[in-house]
């Protein structure tokens, strides 16, 4: 276990150094993504300026939910960048490389890439959290803990949808739709959705685990919320590993053992 953690840290360090090799590109992607998120958020500033409140939700709640969701998305992009293009790796036979090495295949695959713009998302997430008016140290600690669990749930969801490639041929189109669904639902006030839609947000498209629940936990400590978030992330991760391992049995080699950069 300790060996794998050390390996993971070495991978992240190498990825970061590789991304930093092109410093101007790295910085422009980071700053560009922060600006991109800020411009997108203007929608909510205009919305709440005009309508003031939406079923109990105010602008400060949106800052909080954006903070958590952008933080989790950014962390996943930085640490597990290949979770976003796993279906292409599977479909193009590029798993051969990871299968030929004595390391856990799934972990090695998803952690082998860093998306530079993720740094912009992560930093924006922290700034958005601070802009929500939550200023206590304990709140900040809960925010980071919530972001880590939300990142785990989100990464697991990505692994699950991309792993369908083992059965469908290439599920990248479906995975793109699932990513859109997860982000869109996570970035809207959960109070908009009722009945069956709310059930979907907590199960099939677990967007609540990326937005509403970690945001609630960051706002105030509650054992119930913590349990919900931890259990959700754990179940999704277990499911992701199980589905990927099952799918791997169906994988056909592409004879593509080559250097992965």
């Amino acid at each position: 276990m300790l060996k794998e953690i050390r390996f993971l840290f070495s991978l992240w360090k190498t990825n970061l150094l590789a991304a930093m090799e092109y410093r101007a590109a790295f910085l422009s992607q980071m700053i560009g993504m922060m600006l991109n998120n800020a411009v997108y958020f203007i929608f909510w500033v205009i919305f709440f300026d005009r309508f003031k409140e939406l079923r109990g939700w105010q602008l400060s709640d949106m800052f909080l939910i954006f903070g958590v969701a952008a933080g989790a998305f950014g962390l996943a992009s930085l640490l597990f960048g290949n979770a976003f293009n796993l279906s292409e790796i599977i479909a193009n036979g590029r798993l051969d490389y990871y299968l030929s090495l004595p390391r856990p295949v799934l972990l090695h695959t998803i952690a082998s890439r860093t998306v530079a713009s993720g740094m912009g998302d992560f930093t924006y997430g922290i700034l958005s959290y601070l802009a929500s008016g939550q200023t206590s140290w304990s709140g900040l600690a809960r925010f980071f803990f919530g972001v880590i669990l939300a990142c785990a749930a989100f990464t697991a969801f990505m692994i699950i949808v991309h792993s369908l490639t083992f059965w469908l041929g290439n599920a990248s189109g479906f995975a793109g739709l699932a990513l859109n669904a997860m982000l869109s639902f996570a970035l809207y006030p959960v109070s908009l959705f009722e009945g069956a839609a709310k059930f979907v947000l907590f199960t099939i498209i677990p967007a609540a685990l990326m937005g509403a629940i970690p945001a609630e936990f960051a706002r105030s400590f509650d054992w119930g919320t913590l349990g919900e978030l931890s259990l959700g992330a754990f179940v999704l991760l277990a499911l992701a590993i199980l589905i990927f391992q099952r799918g791997l049995r169906r994988y056909e080699s592409g004879s593509a053992i080559q250097t992965e950069v």
Partner: protein, 264 residues
């Protein structure tokens, strides 16, 4: 006429290419259903909370059909900035430049071919979900006018996206320009929220900017067709097209001069 034939052939090849992966096309088209459903939840609650039948002169029915057309334009517009930038960075642009066609007209024909089915499917799925959510579409007599405006918006998008792509001749990474441009279309173009809902000052500024002619203009014309509105929109689109078309030609001419190709 002979010159047009080759671009027509490029257009047709791209149409066929876009149909090569039908499942992929279908999944992408379903995204509009998701977005419109979320918008419907948001605006139903907002209209109910506001307690009025219209906001900024638009009913809930108008707003949803406005957003349907805006989403269709956004999801079908050419995403060629990154394609062009990649060909500039890896040098493969040389293979396009030495062919007997104009580089920009080649991309125009190819992008149009790529967009046609995407547009049709987005409009079909988006129209279906909007109809189910808020009832039948707006007056059909306005549709031809809206179609012309959509074509104008598409051309404007083409010019700006291609210019961003050509920025790769001077910038290491063009993705941030593309992201921010897209978000300007979302906010100042009125894709996420009709510009009529903005405070008066911001509304005037946003309506004067080119983004409004790419998104708000055609979508607003679709829900409230009117000849006067159409004429003003068309004049604005032509003026911005002249500006961005000129900028694109200039960027291409300067970029081609900076191009250095090594090897074969």
């Amino acid at each position: 006429m002979k010159a047009l034939k080759k671009y027509w052939a490029i257009f047709k090849i791209q149409v066929v290419n876009s149909l090569a992966y039908p499942a992929e096309l279908l999944w992408r088209s379903l995204a509009i259903v998701l977005f419109l459903w979320i918008f419907a939840q948001l605006w139903k609650v907002t209209y109910a909370a506001a307690g009025t039948a219209t906001i900024g002169g638009l009913s809930l029915h108008d707003t949803l059909w406005y957003l349907m057309l805006a989403e269709t334009i956004e999801l079908s517009r050419p995403r060629l900035a990154r394609n062009i930038a990649d060909t500039v960075k890896d040098g493969s642009i040389a293979y396009l430049l030495n062919k007997p066609y104009n580089f920009l007209l080649y991309h125009l024909s190819a992008s149009l071919g790529e967009s046609v089915f995407r547009w049709l499917l987005n409009a079909a799925f988006g129209g279906l979900i909007a109809w189910m959510l808020v009832g039948p579409p707006p007056d059909q007599r306005g549709w031809p006018l809206a179609l012309i405006a959509i074509l104008g918006a598409w051309l404007l998008n083409f010019c700006t996206s291609a210019t961003i792509g050509l920025a790769a001749f001077v910038a290491e990474e063009v993705a941030p320009f593309e992201w921010i441009y897209q978000k300007f279309i979302f906010i100042l173009g009125g894709m996420l929220i009709p510009l009529d809902f903005y405070p008066k000052g911001l509304q005037s500024i946003a309506k004067a900017l080119p983004f409004a002619y790419m998104m708000y203009g055609p979508a607003r014309l679709f829900v409230t067709p009117d000849l006067g509105r159409f004429a003003a929109l068309l004049a604005g689109q032509l003026a911005w097209l002249a500006f961005f078309g000129g900028l694109l030609s200039l960027a291409f001419a300067r970029g081609a001069r900076r191009l250095a190709i090594n090897g074969g």
